[in-house]
């Protein structure tokens, strides 16, 4: 009964958003409903606590990091547009459209996905994944199951293998190179967001 259209009209600049992210109107509506469901106090913004209420996410070893990815540094709230833009990174790549070099890189291309993944490791945004940052991620994923020494040896080995210019940190290019054989589109996509 026109509910899709009426929901779309509630969202400002929805055309731009769809262009930028490549989501269909149906998906935007779905995400909007989800956004509203998470925004329990109806403020129009989400705060970290609203994400924290999702049980599956609270259970995730790197849940905090994922939540952090939605908030730009210094910001304490995320609005619907930013919410959608971040999720757009995880759309499966559009295989049909030929690569047009004049158009800006689509937000769900392999490079964009890798950049996003890189940022999840590189929390201080200095362009490099330091040993400490890598250890942090490892610690979250393994916590009390392994000793500190084991964690350090894993971190050392990983850096040794990926670090080509021997500066004891992994830059974006080194990151990309070490993952060149990995099917990023498969691993970093949420299927139904096609």
């Amino acid at each position: 009964m026109g509910s899709t259209n009426s929901t779309l009209s509630k969202i400002p600049n929805v055309e731009e958003l769809m262009q930028e992210t490549g989501f269909t109107p149906a998906h935007i509506v779905r995400l909007y409903d989800r956004f509203e469901a998470l925004d329990k106090e109806k403020t129009g913004h989400l705060r970290p606590q609203d994400f924290g209420a999702i049980n599956r996410l609270a259970m995730n070893p790197i849940g905090d990091r994922i939540i952090g990815a939605f908030f730009s540094p210094g910001q304490e709230t995320v609005d619907f547009h930013s919410f959608v833009r971040i999720l757009a990174h995880f759309r499966p790549a559009d295989k049909k459209h030929p690569k047009d070099p004049s158009m800006p890189e689509p937000v769900n291309s392999r490079t964009s996905k890798l950049k996003f993944a890189f940022q999840l490791y590189d929390q201080d945004k200095d362009g490099k994944i330091s040993r400490a940052e890598l250890l942090q991620v490892l610690r979250s994923m393994l916590e009390m199951q392994v000793t500190e020494e084991q964690l350090e040896s894993i971190a050392d080995r990983t850096i040794q293998e990926a670090d080509l210019d021997k500066d004891d940190a992994i830059s974006f290019e080194e990151f990309r190179k070490s993952l060149e054989k990995v099917n990023i589109d498969h691993k970093m996509s949420i299927r139904f967001l096609r």
Partner: protein, 437 residues
Amino acid sequence: MEDLWSIAVVLLQVWFSVMIGFIMIPAMFGLSLGVTSVYIQILVKILEVTVRKLDEKAYLQTQYLFPRPQKKIIVDLHKGEFALSDSFYFYIKGLESIVDDQVTQRFSSEELVSWNLLTRTNHNFHYISLRLTIIWGLGVIIRYCVLFPLRITLAIIGLTWLVIGTTLVGFLPNKRLKNWLSELVHLMCYRICARGLSATIQYHNKENKPQKGGICVANHTSPIDIVILANDGCYAMVGQSHGGLMGVIQRSMVRSCPHVWFERSEMRDRNAVTSRLRAHVAAKTNLPILIFPEGTCINNTSVMMFKKGSFEIGGTIYPVAIKYDPRFGDAFWNSAKYNMVNYLLRMMTSWAIVVNVWYLPPMTRREGEDAAQFANRVKSAIAHQGGLLDMAWDGSLKRAKVKEEFKEQQQKMYSSMVMGKKGRNSQEPHTETTRRQ
């Protein structure tokens, strides 16, 4: 002016005689005139014919919009070694749960693939045609102006009769007569209430009906479950004692036969609760207790974790599976969204409530089985019979947060993959995991 008045009086008289003659009296004696089943059949036909157009388009849409849980990608993780891409698995799982997650889904109403002309179940449908809107409009008029007043009157009569009847029976001294009459009164009132919701209930396997001195256990979808079950037998209710109207009803019910009502403060003390229930069950002549072990209302697509408290009382457990037909009305009570009155009003303006109730064979705790395992066994039986999903989640997650143990489980799983093989990662065999400082 006088003409109008006399017409109104006549209408009112007709109204009441129809009510009493056709609905109440048959209801009290458990007879059915078959009107409801004819009504249901007509309804189904109308829905099929008018809504067929929506089906295809809607189905295609929903295929894309409903996330299907991704198959375990854990096999993709590098076995025995850490790789930078391992964290991606956790990222994706986290993001999936942000976009939609299995648990919260259970606490919101089931989304129907095809529409049943109730706007409350219409989530993502476009405006299709004028014809459909007209039919929907007619539906609204019928539901609100014809069915609703009828049902409200019935409900009020039913409840009033319950209070009066049970109080009257309470005065009788004789044990056997009292019990017999009290059962009669209870049954009549619940039947009237059921008519007040246009409920069509189908009972299966009546030979397994709960016996005196037993405990009846069922999955919980809404407060109406009580009315549904009590239509076919008498139960001792268990619950918190309320004030106000509910309190009046509760107190009068206790006069005619023993129910178990707890004060709020008593509920906290688990031992007190268990001992009271045990005492009730031990007296073999008491009616079977009715308990909903999930502890909260679930949306009738799955059965969540059963709290083991009810299974520690002892005695025989009689499991019952209740499944509502979602085509006629959404019976789920979303207590976060609607309060009780709102919910009842919605129930009374749905098309009808069609329920299937299965009585399962009685179960007792086996040797060496603890309460939690027994609870799970009963839960699986109920889920299996009712065609519901058997979920391990705790219903109280609706309100509370996940425990730390679940996070540790995830970490354990991942670490066994990375550290499992004695590869380059382990320096020396470790016999105990030392906590980091």
